[in-house]
Symmetry: C2
Subunit: 244 residues, 2 copies
DNA sequence: ACTTATCGAGCGAGCGCTCGCTCGGAAATT
DNA sequence: AATTTCCGAGCGAGCGCTCGCTCGATAAGT
């Protein structure tokens, strides 16, 4: 399937898989012992949290609503987290960890060539944010109304992504394939182009823009802006996903 | 002063001026009769609302907090709006109206040339969002957790700006100064570059990026992406502000 | 000039309600 | 029988919002 070829992580980044990782990370606070039960319920809780929060905001979502939507009771919820902010923190942490992990592991073939590497970063970031769309929207929208400690994590996530981009830009500028004024600032400008796909998803859906079209558009736009010789080289990144 | 030259609206878009316009628009709901008193108090209320909401979210800001911060009482607040959502709506409406008004009134000299027009749009949008920074942040962050009717207004504002950009792109593409795949999608990609300045202001402040640097960077980035012959033409837009 | 009547602006305790969170016991599993 | 899981009524706190009230300024009456 072409869909599978483009999203080799369809399984690896399913809600179930992500919740299993969250459980690992918070084993001492989740009071339910049986792992399969815990993962299943966590998945129901987090699915409901993402759905309701992305509609009306995390703060405006009450635990009673959440209990009803997830099929657990008030008390049941509290066997999975100690308090409401911690639920937020669980989701946020998982998004940050996964994003950093994925973006820091480019295929070898791609890492050698700055243009290919940048195009891979663009495509990968957008596809990952598509696979984990509700998670990314949540992290983006809710991060600011968070206690300082956790907000710091979110901020670092943003800076982290940018520094990955900046690193590639630096290499490309050094080898002469990119023409860039200031590397850091240019990386900062590329980031919102990647985020727009999930932040304003409704808009693109209404426009009828597919993810492939969007990736191609961003790749071409950024490529042209950086003076990369062949913007068409963007296409080189796609087959690389097939081997995942 | 160079600052005044770059922001001829420093007075026209002050909190006081904006609140005076809000008062006009909502005369029948504000029960305070004396205009100077009403404007002054509206300004205190809205300043406090923007400050608290941008820190912790509108929903998380209670009217008791707001009363304390604005120097009015609970009852006093309710002589200026009928209910809490309406306070939100007042602010949102003012941002949308002002943005549309300003962006739809380019200087004549600029409107003739697509490149100059686009660069003027970029610079103007960024400078307006700087002058009204708390307002823009508020509109961006709070719009989604709003009743359908008002959310629609926010959405239309977004679409409105994009269609202004798209119109200029279309002209430029027709006259051959821009090389653009799909006009609508390209306009959609330019928008987040304008928004990033106020959405992630903390980041740019930390980087030490000035607004002039940012405008130049976006202008150059977009210019190059569109294949506009002289990206340096961006500078032509700035003196035009002096005449305001 | 002095008194009195009127009024609009502002106050804040208190209403009904929902919030996040707890805990003793029922139900299910082993 | 023992242990684990899950339930949901109930707690105090805080919410948006109301309303009877005070008070200083202005207007009217003398």
């Amino acid at each position: 399937m072409s869909l599978a070829r483009h999203r080799p992580w369809a399984g690896a980044y399913s809600t179930e898989a992500l919740c299993a990782r969250i459980l690992e990370r918070h084993r001492q606070v989740v009071r339910v012992q049986k792992t399969p039960v815990a993962v299943a319920n966590l998945a129901r809780i987090i699915t409901a949290t993402l759905r309701l929060s992305n509609k009306q905001g995390f703060h405006a979502t009450s635990l009673r609503e959440l209990a009803k939507a997830s099929g657990l009771s008030m008390g049941g919820l509290y066997t999975y987290f100690a308090n409401k902010p911690m639920l937020l923190s669980m989701i946020l942490g998982e998004v940050m960890a996964t994003a950093s992990e994925v973006l820091r592991a480019p295929p070898e073939a791609v890492a050698m060539d700055a243009v290919a590497h940048l195009n891979w970063l663009i495509a990968t970031h957008i596809r990952l944010s598509e696979a984990m769309q509700p998670w990314f929207v949540f992290a983006f929208m809710e991060a600011k109304s968070f206690p300082p400690a956790e907000r710091q994590i979110a901020l670092e996530g943003e800076v982290d992504t940018e520094s990955i981009i900046a690193e590639v830009l630096k290499q490309g500028a050094a080898s002469g394939v990119f023409v860039i004024g200031e590397v850091g600032l240019t990386a900062a400008l590329i980031k919102p182009l990647l985020q727009d796909w999930y932040v304003k998803r409704a808009k693109y859906r209404k426009r009828g823009t597919t993810i492939e079209t969007y990736i191609d558009a961003v790749t071409a736009f950024v490529g042209a802006a950086l003076g990369a010789g062949t913007a068409a080289a963007g296409r080189a990144s796609r087959p690389a996903f097939g081997q995942g």
